[in-house]
Every structure is written in structure tokens, then in C-alpha cells.
């Protein structure tokens, strides 16, 4: 019976695979091809092989003397901002997420479900709406500036919107549930007798936290970090709304090549680069997880 099963059964997944290849994976290959073509006159491409787009990712040509090539500092600024803001977002989410997940995991079972539900709600509500909520909070005539001006602490509004800080705040806000949920999953399985044993052996709270709890929930930490880091790296909506044109991230730089910039091969090359970074982060994650789980299972 088993043998009969795997003979034809996988064919049931064929319709789904056809749609996925046509509308998700296949177009990615086209992007890779387009990154090696020449830009067309009004957007699009002309079918001439060229490595110019890839060079433009990292280098820029002098406007008057195209032979003079230098590092593309504008692009590097965007790359660095993307990575730096994503790392900070991950850190902020970890610092806030760890105590929150711990708090939920140590509630009595009945109320635990409710607390967990309170995390799930923002997790599934529209990212656009949550970003809009942050925009309302920090704009010049927004809640924070109004309160500060009302109390007399400041005389004119502080420019919060369209700064790196705004993007960092927004990303931490929208991605926080992605850190809390895997951390909670790890803590939920935690054997509290081991924590108790630590205290019995005269460990202080800090020592128990450092040597018992954190090592045990490490897989949840790693999963949460990767779940926050990857969408941060690829963020488009949050930096577009909160960062504006001045504080672009890689996603916005890519989007620009298909709008006003109109350099499709460059946009395609930047997309491939972004994809390589994401896949790199995923491979790093899988390696760490395998190393973590290796000794325990074998």
C-alpha cells in the first residue's frame, strides 16, 4: 500500500506547483536574466547582454567622463542603512520580546491563551494600517508632538517622521510579534524544574537567567531573530511611509528603478543581491539550528 501511494500521490500537488512556478518562482529566474540585459529607452529592457547593471550596483560612472569609475556611495549608504536598521530592529524586538514572551509563558494556562491572543491580533492585522498608526503618532501635528507642545517641553514640533528613527520605530513595532511568538513557543516547553535546580544550587537570578534559561530558549531566540531580520531587510512599505525619499532602504531603491528611475536591469540586479542576502541569512540560521540540535539528538 505504501508503495502504491508514493507512485502517483504527489501528482495531487501538481496544480499548486504549476501556479507557484508560473506566478512566484519562475518570474524570479526572469529577474536574474534581466539583470544581465541593457536598459530600454522608456523602462523595460533591450535584449543586449550587458554587465553594466551589476557594475552600477556597486560603482558609478562620472557624468562627464564615463571612463572614470568610482564606488557608488549612494548605494552603499542604502545597503548599510538597510543592514544596520535591520540589526537594530532585531535587537529591539529581542530586548522587548524576551520579557514579554516570558511573562506570557509564566501565566496560568487559562489566561495564557488570552495574552497569546493579544499578540496574535497585531500579528495578523494589516501592516499598512499598523504603519499608518505609527505615522499618526509621530508626525509633526501628531500625538507625540502635540503632547510635548501642550506640556511646554518643546516650542515647535520635533521632526520625527522621515528619519531613520521613524523607520526603526515602525519596523520594531510591526515585526515585534514575529519575535515574541517563537520565543514563547520555546519557553512553553521549558522544564521549570531545571530553573528550580539552579536556584537550589545558590545561583542568583542573573546567573539562572544567563546559564539556565537563555541557553534553553536559544532556538526560539534564533528563530525569532531570523523571522524579524529577514522581513526587515526586505522591508518596503514601512520605510516608504515613515522614511520618505531621504531614508530609503534596499526595497525602496529597487522599487525606484521601476518607477521614476526607470532602469529595469539595475532594479533586477539589486533584487538578486537582496535575495542573496536573505538566502545567506537563512542558510546561516539553518546551520546554527543544526549545530544547536545536533548533540541533543545524536
Amino acid at each position: 500500500m505504501e508503495r502504491e501511494r508514493h507512485g502517483w500521490k504527489w501528482l495531487l500537488s501538481a496544480p499548486a506547483l504549476v501556479v507557484l512556478i508560473a506566478a512566484a518562482s519562475g518570474p524570479l529566474l526572469i529577474v536574474a536574466v534581466y539583470s544581465l540585459l541593457s536598459p530600454g529607452e522608456m523602462g523595460g529592457v533591450s535584449w543586449v547582454f550587458s554587465t553594466e547593471a551589476w557594475m552600477r550596483v556597486f560603482m558609478s560612472r562620472d557624468i562627464f567622463e564615463p571612463e572614470i569609475i568610482s564606488w557608488n556611495s549612494a548605494h552603499f549608504t542604502v545597503f548599510w542603512r538597510t543592514i544596520w536598521l535591520s540589526m537594530q530592529t532585531t535587537l529591539i524586538c529581542a530586548v522587548l520580546g524576551f520579557p514579554t514572551a516570558w511573562f506570557i509563558a509564566t501565566r496560568p494556562p487559562a489566561s495564557r491563551t488570552l495574552w497569546l491572543f493579544l499578540i496574535t491580533i497585531p500579528f495578523w492585522t494589516n501592516l499598512l494600517i499598523r504603519t499608518f498608526a505609527i505615522q499618526e503618532l509621530i508626525r509633526n501635528s501628531g500625538t507625540i508632538n502635540s503632547i510635548l507642545m501642550w506640556t511646554g517641553l518643546i516650542e515647535r514640533p520635533i521632526q520625527l517622521l522621515y528619519t531613520d528613527f521613524a523607520v526603526l520605530l515602525g519596523m520594531s513595532y510591526v515585526f515585534l510579534p514575529l519575535m515574541i511568538l517563537p520565543l514563547y513557543a520555546a519557553m512553553d516547553k521549558l522544564d521549570f524544574r531545571l530553573v528550580e535546580a539552579g536556584y537550589d544550587l545558590y545561583a542568583s537570578r542573573m546567573q539562572v537567567l544567563r546559564h539556565v534559561i537563555i541557553p534553553m530558549v536559544k532556538p526560539g531566540f534564533i528563530a525569532g531573530s531570523i523571522l524579524v531580520f529577514i522581513p526587515s531587510i526586505g522591508a518596503y512599505v514601512t520605510p516608504r511611509i515613515l522614511g520618505g525619499g531621504r531614508t530609503m532602504m534596499m526595497g525602496n531603491l529597487i522599487g525606484l528603478q521601476f518607477g521614476q528611475g526607470q532602469n529595469w536591469p539595475l532594479g533586477a540586479a539589486l533584487s538578486v543581491l537582496l535575495l542573496v542576502i536573505v538566502v545567506g541569512a537563512l542558510i546561516f540560521y539553518l546551520r546554527v539550528v543544526n549545530r544547536e540540535e545536533g548533540p541533543r539528538h545524536g
Binding site: 506547483l17 526572469i30 514579554t100 495578523w124 499608518f132 521601476f258
Partner: protein, 266 residues
């Protein structure tokens, strides 16, 4: 009890947790509160009013994009759920076969690739197809949303299938049920909660998708999220808050229902 030493207590953690919950909900609460503001300001409270809901609901453009969004979400999630159910039946509870990892990777691929990359990939592909076929209808949007919904629909269906008792189907077969009958009267009814959950997840995901839609849409194919994204660049009135609140309410209802359905499973 409150003063007794508890191994589960870590000083300061409770305070940070409560603060986090407040921070998670405060911006949303403010957004909802100002949707009921009588004035046009987002920071000066001028009394309670439903005028922005009236404005939003009678705005013909809002009506149009909302209907399109709902239609798209139902269609894409419906197709994705059927495809994901078949895929789950084809990949779960079977002995390992060559290419299995490949299938898993394909199904989960939309989860890993940044939306902006999928978005521009589809923009390029759709532009190519439009030139060569002349077709520029909603088909592209349906296909893009369906592909994006498949992994989300697949997850709960596959999870349900994995925990299902296979002896019931064996019993059906022992009682001379044909494979089709066994599927129709045993497997499918048991699978229904997973299928409903999968459809709901797909529905919410399609409704939320903004980046892919923004790059795939042709003229006149604006959805509610892309309409909102466009509006946010201008100075917004509480009409936006009213739209966002209605949208939020719909999401909360679906998520609550999803939560209740998947919890009963155990």
C-alpha cells in the same frame, strides 16, 4: 502566595511585558479613537461624530476598491485553498519520495522571498505577457495572489492532516468503501476545520497584500491597500482612520474566528 519565592519570577520582566502590550495597542487605539473625531484633525479632539464613517462609506472610490479587494481575496484564497488541499493530500502521510524537498521548497518559497522582489519579478513577467497576449485583466492579480496565498492555506491543512487518525480511512476501506467514498465521507469531513482555517489565512493574507499588488496592478485595478498607500502620501483626514478602523475590525473578526477554529482541534 504573592510573596513566596517563585522560580518563574524575574524582576522587571512583568513591567516590560505590560509596557510592550501597551505600546503594541496604544497606536492602534489612538487611530481608532480619532476615526470618531468631529473635527478634521488627528490630534485635537473636537467631539464624537460618525461623519468620517459616512464620508468613507459614501466615497465611491473607496466602495469600488473595497469590493475589488474582497472579490480578489475570496477568489484567490478559494483557488489557493483547493490547490493547497490537493497539495497537502499529495505530500502528507506518504513515504519519502524523490523531489519531496523540492516540492516543500516551492510551496514555501513565497514566505521566504521579500515581497518587493516577488513584486518586481511579477511586474516584469506581466509586462512581457501583456505585450505578447494583449490581455490585461484581473487574471494576473488573481494568479499572483493565489500563489502568495498557497503556503498560508497549506500550513493549517497539512497540520490537520498530519494529526488525523489514518485508521479511520483503513476502517472505511475494510468496509468496502471505494477510495473516492472513503475520501468523500471520511477524510474530507475530518479535514474541514483545517480547510476553513487555511481559507481564512489566505483571505487575510490576500486582503493585506500591498507590495505585490502595487507592482502587478494595471490601470483601474486599485485595491483597498494600494489605495490607502497612495492616500498616505497626502495629508490625511480622519476618513483614513475610519477606513482603517473598518478594515481592522474585519481582520479582528477573522483572526478571532481562526483562533477559535484551530483551538478546538486538540
Amino acid at each position: 502566595m504573592a510573596n513566596a519565592f517563585s522560580v518563574k519570577r524575574l524582576p522587571g520582566f512583568g513591567a516590560i511585558a505590560i509596557l510592550t502590550f501597551v505600546m503594541l495597542y496604544l497606536p492602534i487605539v489612538i487611530l481608532v479613537v480619532y476615526s470618531f473625531n468631529a473635527g478634521a484633525s488627528q490630534s485635537n479632539w473636537e467631539g464624537f461624530s460618525l461623519r468620517w464613517y459616512q464620508t468613507a462609506l459614501s466615497n465611491s472610490q473607496v466602495q469600488e476598491v473595497s469590493i475589488r479587494s474582497l472579490w480578489l481575496a475570496v477568489t484567490a484564497s478559494g483557488i489557493a485553498t483547493v490547490l493547497a488541499t490537493l497539495a497537502a493530500l499529495g505530500t502528507t502521510r506518504v513515504s519519502r519520495f524523490p523531489g519531496q524537498t523540492m516540492i516543500y521548497a516551492l510551496i514555501n518559497q513565497p514566505l521566504m522571498v521579500p515581497e518587493i522582489v516577488t513584486g518586481i519579478a511579477l511586474l516584469i513577467f506581466v509586462a512581457f505577457l501583456k505585450v505578447n497576449t494583449g490581455y490585461s485583466g484581473m487574471g494576473y492579480m488573481v494568479a499572483a495572489h493565489t500563489a502568495f496565498c498557497i503556503p498560508f492555506a497549506y500550513l493549517p491543512i497539512q497540520a490537520r492532516l498530519q494529526t488525523m487518525d489514518s485508521t479511520l480511512e483503513t476502517a472505511a476501506a475494510d468496509l468496502y468503501a471505494s477510495p473516492v467514498q472513503a475520501f468523500r465521507y471520511v477524510t474530507l469531513p475530518l479535514l474541514v476545520p483545517g480547510i476553513i482555517a487555511g481559507f481564512m489565512l489566505g483571505f487575510v493574507i490576500s486582503l493585506d497584500t500591498v507590495v505585490i499588488t502595487e507592482f502587478v496592478k494595471s490601470a483601474g485595478q486599485e485595491t483597498l491597500p494600494t489605495y490607502m498607500l497612495g492616500q498616505l502620501r497626502r495629508v490625511v483626514t480622519p476618513e483614513m482612520n475610519a477606513i482603517a478602523t473598518l478594515f481592522l475590525a474585519l481582520s479582528v473578526v477573522i483572526v478571532t474566528a481562526f483562533f477559535l477554529i484551530t483551538r478546538k482541534r486538540g
